[in-house]
Symmetry: D3
Subunit: 312 residues, 6 copies
Amino acid sequence: MSTPVGPLDASVVPRFAGVRTFARLPLVDDVESVDVAVLGAPFDGGTTFRAGARFGPAAVRESSVLLRSFNPNIGIAPFEAAQVADAGDAFGNPVDIVAAHEAIRSSAAGLIATGAGVIGIGGDHSVSLPLVSAAAERHGPLGLVQLDAHTDTWDAYFGSKLTHGTMFRRAIESGVIDPDRSVQIGLRGSLYSGDDEAANHRLGFRTLTAREFDHDAAIEMVRRQATGSIYLTVDIDVLDPAFAPGTGTPEVGGLTTRELVALLVGIGEELGPRLVGADVVEVSPPYDPTGITALAGANVAYHLVSMLAANR
Amino acid sequence: MSTPVGPLDASVVPRFAGVRTFARLPLVDDVESVDVAVLGAPFDGGTTFRAGARFGPAAVRESSVLLRSFNPNIGIAPFEAAQVADAGDAFGNPVDIVAAHEAIRSSAAGLIATGAGVIGIGGDHSVSLPLVSAAAERHGPLGLVQLDAHTDTWDAYFGSKLTHGTMFRRAIESGVIDPDRSVQIGLRGSLYSGDDEAANHRLGFRTLTAREFDHDAAIEMVRRQATGSIYLTVDIDVLDPAFAPGTGTPEVGGLTTRELVALLVGIGEELGPRLVGADVVEVSPPYDPTGITALAGANVAYHLVSMLAANR
Amino acid sequence: MSTPVGPLDASVVPRFAGVRTFARLPLVDDVESVDVAVLGAPFDGGTTFRAGARFGPAAVRESSVLLRSFNPNIGIAPFEAAQVADAGDAFGNPVDIVAAHEAIRSSAAGLIATGAGVIGIGGDHSVSLPLVSAAAERHGPLGLVQLDAHTDTWDAYFGSKLTHGTMFRRAIESGVIDPDRSVQIGLRGSLYSGDDEAANHRLGFRTLTAREFDHDAAIEMVRRQATGSIYLTVDIDVLDPAFAPGTGTPEVGGLTTRELVALLVGIGEELGPRLVGADVVEVSPPYDPTGITALAGANVAYHLVSMLAANR
Amino acid sequence: MSTPVGPLDASVVPRFAGVRTFARLPLVDDVESVDVAVLGAPFDGGTTFRAGARFGPAAVRESSVLLRSFNPNIGIAPFEAAQVADAGDAFGNPVDIVAAHEAIRSSAAGLIATGAGVIGIGGDHSVSLPLVSAAAERHGPLGLVQLDAHTDTWDAYFGSKLTHGTMFRRAIESGVIDPDRSVQIGLRGSLYSGDDEAANHRLGFRTLTAREFDHDAAIEMVRRQATGSIYLTVDIDVLDPAFAPGTGTPEVGGLTTRELVALLVGIGEELGPRLVGADVVEVSPPYDPTGITALAGANVAYHLVSMLAANR
Amino acid sequence: MSTPVGPLDASVVPRFAGVRTFARLPLVDDVESVDVAVLGAPFDGGTTFRAGARFGPAAVRESSVLLRSFNPNIGIAPFEAAQVADAGDAFGNPVDIVAAHEAIRSSAAGLIATGAGVIGIGGDHSVSLPLVSAAAERHGPLGLVQLDAHTDTWDAYFGSKLTHGTMFRRAIESGVIDPDRSVQIGLRGSLYSGDDEAANHRLGFRTLTAREFDHDAAIEMVRRQATGSIYLTVDIDVLDPAFAPGTGTPEVGGLTTRELVALLVGIGEELGPRLVGADVVEVSPPYDPTGITALAGANVAYHLVSMLAANR
Amino acid sequence: MSTPVGPLDASVVPRFAGVRTFARLPLVDDVESVDVAVLGAPFDGGTTFRAGARFGPAAVRESSVLLRSFNPNIGIAPFEAAQVADAGDAFGNPVDIVAAHEAIRSSAAGLIATGAGVIGIGGDHSVSLPLVSAAAERHGPLGLVQLDAHTDTWDAYFGSKLTHGTMFRRAIESGVIDPDRSVQIGLRGSLYSGDDEAANHRLGFRTLTAREFDHDAAIEMVRRQATGSIYLTVDIDVLDPAFAPGTGTPEVGGLTTRELVALLVGIGEELGPRLVGADVVEVSPPYDPTGITALAGANVAYHLVSMLAANR
């Protein structure tokens, strides 16, 4: 491996200067090869309540200028340990969810084919379906570690099978995700019926609600359940609305960013090289006037990148 | 006609009290028959840039509590002259534009079948297609008076024929709109190509750009071109972003609300009973922190209601 | 009991559609009888610092569209267990606190007379006085469980005996509240004098400050002190400003929504059918640009409704 | 007259530094005598829709740091031509309109008694009643030049005779204002009934609506009608919501700031020393996230100060 | 000239997708040669009141995604007529104005040396000094057409000679600008002394204040005064705060965007190839919650680019 | 000591009334002598990312109107225990960091010379350098207790030695701070290199990161390390962005206000009269639309004042 091309140095180039790539990294086309690619998926056509996550990748990039080179939580300088690059956005027809998903899957698959790990930036949570599908094409059926307020395993909304609340049921049906190796952490909020929790468990998931949340219990659940190759998806609404107001379906009673960062670090230690892909989704800038949701999203992405880089 | 049931009296019930219906009017189901129905169309799945207009009807209703009983610009007490009622929202699958449009068309047609005139509240501008289609089912092909920054007559976006930038070409193709009796006022902004204007004219429209805007010229154009039965559509982006920041595709250099209100009054006088339906669209609350766009939308709707009521 | 008429189904009708009633429930006038009535009290004329809570009921209704049918924290589908309905707003003269309070008391009393339990939505905290008074008319002197940053038992502001900081002293004086069966949880912030705490205790209240807050201690205090029939009042400022910026008198160092929801659930289990009425107050939309305060308010109201419904 | 004590020099002390007095002027107590006093009236208990104007004086002071020493529109350095000072706020019971008005009247009268002219900063428009009353105590019945979207001459709201929509009828009844020497400019918006305009005219006012607005016609109307000693009141809602979103009762179709400043200058030239007092009201900071309404208010106050100073 | 590489096609790639370059154009390094370079100057260390313009280039780029290929006001497809590219940001020490200016001058000079015309995006107005200096190095002393609320020709602030209110006096002193061929349009606001206007005129400028503004008079003034090679600078505060709230020193009574766009078009026609460089400055995103200021800035930049492209 | 002149009584004068001094206290010039002076330092020219803290003192004063007379956390009525007064703002050239720092140092030294303790209100964190320098002039080299997300001990930014990220290295070099008696609590966020932490420790600091944060451990570290006379500096970014979004360099994973208040109380108890000065910095109002950051800043300042007052 040649020496990775790193980001702009913030002690030389002020953080507010320069065209916004993730963490001010080079674009994929400007480096020889890529170990970890950050891929935007600016699509929110699967949203059932508040739209806006289509601007998520741009806002996460804007906030990511605050990121620096060394991640003390993981003890790694990710941009030195691996060649990380911004792969731009996978774009697709914003008014046709099938076409949009295919465009995202195709972009991700292209990057994966070059040997890169992909960190997706949503977009609404439906974009995890093409992202995890692309990863499973290479790695086979994947266990899912899902940090989220909602299960996203409902069957249909308004008669539609493809939305940001149903895509993980689709992923199970298509064999992309193996629910018996999957966990969901942070679930909360009112439900459509008293059977929702049981139905979700019948699919195979192990769950830890926000009410029950405990760091060690969460890590233990990941250790026992999430065997084999794993895809990690972080819906920013796993955070409490105080920490992430800018999201499509906020639910009170969520995690703090301190809890989330520690959880990510712990999961990363647990998974090691079994982590094959990840995303952070549902940052919705129109509902984020202070920008703290995008900042949280950028920090999540930074830790996801660090986790993949640590395995190179 | 029995005496119309009017709105709550703001000198008795404070404006900030009560469940929000348009202008605090009764719901359609709570009155015997309806002359003018205000119908929400909370759909923005046809949006090509910023979403959010799905919350337009709710925000317009919230702002409409400021409306009072007498419209001095038109010299009418619309809620006494006719039974006006809030018909709620025509809802449809938010992630399937064809199904959503059919739900809107069906709701509007149902109201029109009872003899009511319908004032639509968008939603993105694509909702005008089912709304004008429902009106044309009863009245035959309609001339269109379109107040808008954009022609919305492009052929396709991202390969999609049905978006908020293409629906009036569809309406022409299906014979719902007669472009030779149609005018567009307030056009401006950069274009996709130097042929855009000519292509739009070839379809049959007469146009008055915002640069050329003059009240008398606009009224004269309506008088000459917009013969027969007419549908009036107001994209709130005909206003300058200073007056309507909360919209999906803002363009600088637009009209003021003083100009728009005067224009509506003049058009109403010109059309008289030839006006058979109307809408106001593209109010996007997530981009409207001060609420002035929703307030403008509520005032536009109030004038549209007044114009229909004046013809009863 | 006939089968309750429930809310609109969000998997059929998108949450952003429809006229805003609480949780998209029917209005009181549209159902045969009501077990639990949600009553808005849009009055903030008792405010000593920032006004705006007059728009609280509208904002809570707008946020309540996110609520679903099943409350997993309490294990109940409240809208199936009981007929819940939106009773609209009790309106009164916004510039005359005596007249406004009487209008609220009268509305609540009318609902209670039909056998309904009432959940009030403020408005400033002064509206708890007429609400608790109406409840006491039926149930006799009530113990008070007050979740709040402030005691609201000062004697007078600016020479006025009736404000949102003094009404519980008035309620004690009129015998509506029995302070010896009352507790206050979440108190904090600077005080007018070193005697404030002692004076409040001399009235009879037991208190648990935010500094001392501990879930089990709070529940234990409720168990010991809050005997007999109880009214539960939640000032949204019991939450930290990070969780509830949109309120009239924010104080740093408050509870999180996770703590508050757990506290409500625990109090509900403790009180059972001894809970005869409740309210959530001081949501102030002009200071809530992200809407998270209204969302918290809607969730509090949902739990209060669930608690009353569970006792039917 | 001794040399007036002027404001801090912005080329020496940065504008963002220092305790906020109006235009960074000295307080009344810190100068020997005062020619023009700027008096805050932070009361909004007369508001019928959106409150918040109680924070108007603070926001106007904050914005006023942008004001400089020389007013080129009037050709005067007002703080050199006269001793101008900030008289702080007239405070009163915020939940008792009668007591609050008396506190304001008394403060203004005290300043007037020393020979000062008073420029009031609201507060809701009801504060003009005590302010104009204090002026009339010295100068006798006054003609009123009212720049406003609303007449504020309704009889009662919710049975209350004293609100921000009725106070000028009260002022006429008490003989403080002579309607036959009074004009209203900028009126617009929907009305409670078709008789509102006529009823207002029957009181004696001459009016120029925003629809009819023309600078020369406005000045001519002032010249003909507003004879004798005059009080000038500027409701910031005379501006369009694009220019003044932060106000209690915004109405579309209003004036621009360019029109308003020119109008003030023209009125000042016309009135000369016949102008005996003035105010600017209804700046409501909670609805003014960009601060442009407060900035407009500060500029209006600056021109009012300049007009009084020019007559010294 | 080879066929210019144009921007992404918004009918294929949604506008919300992709890394933000100006108008989604290629970067300078990705094209063979450049005719017009858009250069960010994210520096606001010369600001005397509100900072934030350091984020101006990023916000203008974000808003510029709304721009399309054909400019109907000028009748040109600028990205086809010339190779336009984004040159990124000229960065410099944000806490050392001399070093920062030198970095900007050097970047601009480097681009100019390749034959490109430069359109600068500020940054506070002080960045015009290095930008115009770089242009003058090639073209000799330049006339200045300045659209601005302020003259920016004061001598010093707080003893500093180099600020955003003094730089054009420095430019005159260094011979970069020839004031006798310079005009200022849109001036307004209170002044430091009664001599400010005269002092400015003594420097040589011809001025047209916002009060006096008339399109034809402005164009005539440019025609008569602005002879020879010209630099055009647009301070976004030439617009009224209703149209551009997000700026450092807003002044009421400014131009509308309709007036400004027409003025730019007229000036462009008048200057033709005599225009050698231009900038738009003082867009301050922290004060621009609705983004309309950045949108105005992007449209100004688009017209400036079109004007330079038209001369290729 | 004469009886201290206290603040306005909020039960008599509404909190929204009156010219804004800190906690509505008298100005220094209006009292005979001062025990504790609150001094604004509205300078942010040392900022490396987002500016705006220049408006911090004004926003903290505005929020401080919510503060009352008795501090129950410390058990003191600080304004009775000591004469506390607002010393206004130390102003300096906003575009020259050396001159600005000297102005701040000089103002603070002047107050200290009269025997007062000084509580500084920033401004960016660079203002702590002149403030602590002034304190050290009187008390000798000081230990530092720093509550902060960042060490602020880097050597240089962009070649500048004097910024808000480097000033404590300068303070060590000049002998003002004794690092061996200094602690830093709340550190977190990504770093420039893997050696940052070690380099900081080599300077002498003991640190407790936010990840490791524990109240008792923090107090114990202060007890062991922070011997002798101590200066306490609170960068508001020690709080999580959910609690303090309005700051220049937010980092996720920070403290809550409940933790911070308890920490301040504990530190105060530990230090007692060894605390000789303190400040709270980096409140940046343009990024604080809900005002909760300024509210937190006001509460921190109130506790700092209480701590100094308790030692009188």
